[in-house]
Symmetry: C2
Amino acid sequence: MFSTSSFAAHSATTPLSPLQIARREVGPLDVQIDIEYCGICHTDLHVAKNDWGRSVYPIVPGHEIVGRVRAVGAKVKRFAPGQAVAVGCFVGSCGTCASCADHMEQYCLNGYTLTYGSPSADPGGYTQGGYSKSIVVGEHFVLSLPDGLDPAAAAPLLCAGITSYSPLRHWGIGPGMTVGVIGLGGLGHMGVKLAHAMGAKTVMITTSPAKAADAMRLGANEVLISTDEQAMLAMANQFDFLLNTILVPHDFNTYMGLLKVDGTMCIVGAIGPNAQLNTRPLILGRRNIAGSLVGGIKETQEMLNFCAAHEIVSDIELIPVEQINEAYVRMQNNDVKYRFVIDMATLA
Amino acid sequence: MFSTSSFAAHSATTPLSPLQIARREVGPLDVQIDIEYCGICHTDLHVAKNDWGRSVYPIVPGHEIVGRVRAVGAKVKRFAPGQAVAVGCFVGSCGTCASCADHMEQYCLNGYTLTYGSPSADPGGYTQGGYSKSIVVGEHFVLSLPDGLDPAAAAPLLCAGITSYSPLRHWGIGPGMTVGVIGLGGLGHMGVKLAHAMGAKTVMITTSPAKAADAMRLGANEVLISTDEQAMLAMANQFDFLLNTILVPHDFNTYMGLLKVDGTMCIVGAIGPNAQLNTRPLILGRRNIAGSLVGGIKETQEMLNFCAAHEIVSDIELIPVEQINEAYVRMQNNDVKYRFVIDMATLA
């Protein structure tokens, strides 16, 4: 198991000491997974640092989990030992509300159980995530990893991938449409690959001309520099959909004029208070601002199958677990192309 | 014609003098209308006061126009002298863009021509509105006023009515849905009547307990006091759609938690900068914020027919034209139930 002591520097007021996180026994509906790879998400850093004030230490982050089944409970039907599997951002939901009934566990009205940091009956009283040798997850929340996907590079599909895929699917992206992906980081680089694979004209929208070449390599048809007022005006009313992956609070009004009548900008990054909202572009073009949160289990499996069919994985930097703190610093400085993944074989 | 001198007090720096506004000759595609009634919209006041900095004086406001055809051009097919007709917020559009082709002239990509204050080939170089004895409008932009609608009380349907109707229709409001109408003014009272007539469970959402009885009379099934935190919490995740008719800048976050997953709040009042947008309720429930602007000509005709079928008109206070300035002051103080309409027979 992974020691959480390396996070102590982030939270001087919270006493942390090295410890082992025990996993629950394998119940009849559970799947025990040997974790091979775990992606590093910005959320991990926020939680490790207690940015949102809700972290309970000790905590093991990690919700981009890929591994192999070690053991299954007596009633598990879909999985068998040795099978390649994956786990994403949540490991429980009520199963009975309208959202769960509609395969949208991520919007469970009674509250889902996050892969780490949610109260649970697990040892220690909270779920613990994927920076670890193993995890025990209820069958419903385990995904099958399709053949042909590199397991390390597939790990970020479980959060960055599905967070981009779900809104693109929900808003019906396909051939004949123009999609803008705003921001080229972990989420944005998946957005470009997926929108392109879905057949849309895909435009990378970034403040950074230095990112243009890489955006084109990832599948963008064009690059639009959002600080270039003339270029932005020339693209007014051109977009069916904007996937906004910027992680920090910002001014949405910069982008709204790019949308066609009835177009939607979907926010998947900057959660919380942002800038003042100017309703003029909304009212004058029946434009929409929406948000979206990861995706349901059924949809996540569809996404993995789609990625296998289209040979899509994340661009990653594979690191040994000892480099986690360095990776956090680099991630904070946007110095990663485009996702760190921990090789769990390096965890003693 | 109406003297604009009474607006001089609103704009001391703009020299105004009493004058007559001439109308253009009746062209082959034009309909000349004797105006009987004209509703008073908040927009009229904003333009009269030059609140948006774009008013060009002299200006005749008024875009909730009801009257009878006096004369028609040689090529006019749908109208004949004596027929009851109506004119709404715009009287021209390009006719060729994607929006116009889709019967959404209000989102014309080349710019519609407003009923008053838009540059035009009309005498004086600008269109002039309905606080007037007559108007000349191209046939495409003239509505037929169905039998059975009181003409004075029907006038506000041309702006307040269609502004509420169009989003309710666009978002598919009907039986089995729960709709909240936020704010009980000219727009809101039409929203309640229309949502109720479309078969939705209709909830008036207001800060003002004093408005509850009137909201129920207008067709609301329930009243929700938005300053009552307990009541608001009890209604969380209950609404399919919110029609937000508040006219002044405000905080949308108050209302977003009321929406179900995939629900939409549509802004039809507060155009321009509002409060900071908190994206949390958007992301955590795939909720949407949208805007909507009046409605297209085809849809406006549908709305008039719907109102005739359901015996819906506006609640109005009919005033002689001499009381316009008093009406403006009362409207600014929200002291009208729910729309002033000018009886144009009182204009000398």
